[in-house]
């Protein structure tokens, strides 16, 4: 009798030990929450497309074969920091979400960044721009993917000056994001040997830019830098075309432009626009293959760099989870920094100690209508910025995680 009991106890102990290894994946499910804008300004460049991208990453990772249960849920933060933070809190507290991804809109991203840090989960930012996420607000639980304001400012500013655009005039949206973009780009332009001939600030959500564009025209600067985003960028580009600015020899530099904006404008208005992105569907065979699958699942719409970033981030995340056999936020983020990244969309790259994901950036110019062979065939690649130059040097960010 006693022997049997001992045997039973031993068997039970073994079973528990085996179970304990699985129990490191909380709730036996890796739950991914896609938090972004599903209904307004950023819905096209993130929205449902990001959910599609996340699902594709899970598929391509072959999670099932590796014994991992992965689920995806999504929610609309409506570009409101309080809505976003409420969803994040609920997801972490009661819904068992292990990682939040995407989150365009810097205000929401900063809020979720703080919450993730407090609750020791994981946060993979693809949509938001603020470089503070790897600077003052850096956290051991957050990785900033895809792009940021420093990269945009430096990539675009630097590269444009080097290709001949050395006099600038800024048209800036009068709010923190616009100011930051203008400040960073101006610094990059001056550093590269260019000159800033003037700047004008327009209130956010201005409908009519004619007076500001007129001032830009009179300055005769070679490049008009649009330090704005979303509807403001689209409006200023459209009206610039009307006033014959590009035909008159000046070029517009969009500091935050996505392929969805170009699609909405039409090549007729957007031609000649120069800006930086870190992904374009037509770069190589791998990106093209991905895009074909993505478009089929996303109503024919091609991926923006934000959505591509979600794919890349989720893929790398799952690799780290599988390697660690755990979905503990802090541990997985640390593992993601350890492992080099490699995916069909961004190629080879890495994640730095401050949480900044590094990959090459591309200076693109929008084609003329005659040069385009079909929808979404919009870009000419003017230059490639190597990964180690595209992002802010790790020491300059004031991130407390970085040891000097």
């Amino acid at each position: 009798m006693k022997l049997k009991l001992k045997a039973l106890a031993a068997a039970a102990a073994l079973a528990f030990a085996a179970g304990a290894a699985h129990a490191q994946i909380s709730g036996n499910v890796v739950k991914i929450g896609v938090l972004n804008d599903q209904s307004s300004l950023y819905a096209d460049l993130s929205g449902q497309g990001s959910v599609v991208a996340a699902k594709m990453a899970i598929e391509d990772f072959k999670a099932k074969d590796k014994g991992l249960n992965v689920e995806v849920i999504f929610a609309d933060h409506q570009n409101k920091a309080d809505v976003g933070s409420q969803i994040a809190n609920k997801w972490y507290d009661t819904d068992g979400v292990d990682v939040i991804v995407d989150t365009p809109n810097s205000a929401v991203a900063l809020a979720v960044n703080q919450i993730t840090k407090d609750k020791k989960k994981a946060f993979l930012v693809s949509g938001a721009a603020t470089s503070d996420l790897t600077g003052k607000a850096c956290s051991p639980n957050t990785i900033h993917w895809t792009y940021d304001t420093w990269m945009l400012a430096n990539g675009t500013g630097n590269a444009i000056v080097k290709t001949g655009g050395n006099t600038w005039f800024f048209l800036t949206a009068d709010y923190a994001f616009g100011h930051a973009l203008e400040r960073d780009t101006e610094a990059a332009v001056l550093k590269a040997g260019g000159k800033v001939l003037g700047k004008v600030r327009a209130p956010l959500n201005t409908q009519d830019f004619s007076s500001f564009l007129l001032q830009a025209q009179t300055s005769k600067a070679k490049i008009i830098g649009l330090a704005n985003a979303g509807g403001d960028t689209v409006n200023s580009i459209k009206q610039a075309s009307e006033f014959g600015i590009v035909k008159g020899g000046q070029n517009l530099a969009g500091l935050l432009v996505f392929i969805t904006d170009v699609h909405g404008l039409g090549l007729d208005k957007a031609q000649g626009l120069i800006f930086t992105e870190t992904f374009y569907w037509d770069l190589n065979d791998q990106t093209r293959a991905f895009t074909k699958r993505f478009a089929a699942a996303n109503g024919g719409k091609y991926p923006s760099m934000v959505q591509a970033g979600v794919y890349s981030a989720v893929l790398h995340y799952l690799k780290a989870v599988a390697a660690l056999k755990s979905d503990d936020g802090t541990a997985v983020i640390a593992k993601m920094k350890e492992m080099p990244t490699d995916d069909p969309l961004f190629g080879k790259g890495s994640v730095r100690a401050d949480g900044r994901k590094i990959h090459p950036a591309y200076l693109v110019e929008v084609k003329k209508p005659s040069e385009s062979k079909g929808p979404y065939d919009y870009y000419k690649i003017r230059a490639t910025i190597p990964a180690n130059e595209a992002f802010r040097p790790i020491g300059e960010g004031e991130c407390p995680l970085v040891k000097k």
Partner: protein, 294 residues
């Protein structure tokens, strides 16, 4: 190059002209609002959404039916005006006996429904609408390059504004309308179908908003939120002008466009607020507005 207050004269004149162009949008939109409020005592919060519908309608006419800009100018106000008629018949007419604020709330709710539906259906990035061939390009006026289309907008809206003013203030039909608002039972006793006049007037005001939308489509991005960005400013314009005064709305619309243009030159960061500051001041000193009578 001479300068006034540190701004080159050339730049000043060009900004004034731009201000006039913006003013024509303000005037056109506040005209519709003034017609509706002046004659029907309804605050039409849906005006912005109807302006947006006008722009979208123009987009559809072009992309689904191949009907271009000039067709749109005629068809769109009629189509959207018709939806206005439906709204008035089904919903607004029930509220006339109540406090006017209920009309405000109803139209506010309708604006939310319309904008939300369009946003749900079309997203927010906006649709491209190309400028009609005959109006592309422009002339060099010496101090600036004036796109043909913008010149067209000024002239067309001036014509429409003055035409509407004439219709309401100087014709028999207009007199009948004004009488009907002041004393509906009396006018009805004379055999005039007052409810129908009211319905058609609302439809007319809505049609004006939609027309402004067609004017806007080639130069502003056709997006679901184009109306809500504009509508609050237009309210301020109408209040400053005098909520019932047609001429007041026209003059204030153009005038405020010019003032806003000047502000953009001297102190751009305030160009959004200047109209509201003026509105607050006017309401303090002369509550009925610059041209209103009450």
């Amino acid at each position: 190059m001479s300068e006034i207050f540190g701004v080159p004269t050339q730049a000043l004149f060009s900004q004034l002209l731009i201000g006039l162009i913006n003013g024509s949008f303000y005037a056109l939109l506040s005209l519709g609002l003034a017609v509706i409020f002046g004659l029907l005592n309804i605050i039409n919060f849906t005006h912005g959404a109807q302006y947006m519908m006008g722009a979208f309608c123009a987009y559809f006419l072009l992309n689904k039916f191949g009907l271009g800009y000039w067709w749109a100018l005629v068809i769109v106000p009629l189509a959207v005006g018709f939806t206005g008629v439906v709204i008035e018949r089904l919903m607004l007419s029930r509220l006339y006996k109540l406090d006017h604020l209920y009309g405000l709330l109803l139209t506010f709710g309708l604006a939310l429904i319309i904008e939300g539906s369009f946003r749900h259906q079309f997203g927010s990035a906006g649709m491209p609408y190309s400028m009609p061939e005959s109006l592309t390009g422009g002339t060099n006026l010496g101090f600036m390059f004036l796109p043909k289309y913008r010149a067209w907008v000024i002239i067309a809206s001036l014509a429409i504004c003055l035409g509407t003013w004439f219709l309401i203030e100087r014709t028999k039909l207009g007199a009948l309308l004004r009488a009907a608002t002041e004393n509906p039972s009396m006018v009805q006793a004379f055999g005039v179908n007052v409810p129908r006049m009211i319905t058609l007037t609302y439809g007319f005001g809505v049609g004006l908003a939609a027309l402004a939308g067609v004017f806007a489509a080639p130069i502003y991005q056709v997006s679901p939120q184009m109306g809500s960005s504009l509508i609050i400013v237009v309210f301020a314009v109408v209040v400053i002008g005098g909520m019932g005064s047609i001429m007041g709305a026209i003059l204030t619309g153009f005038g405020l466009g010019v003032i806003e243009g000047l502000t953009k030159v001297f102190y751009p960061e305030a160009s959004n607020t200047v109209i509201f500051v003026i509105m607050a001041i006017v309401l303090m000193i002369r509550p009925q507005g610059l041209f209103g009578q009450r």
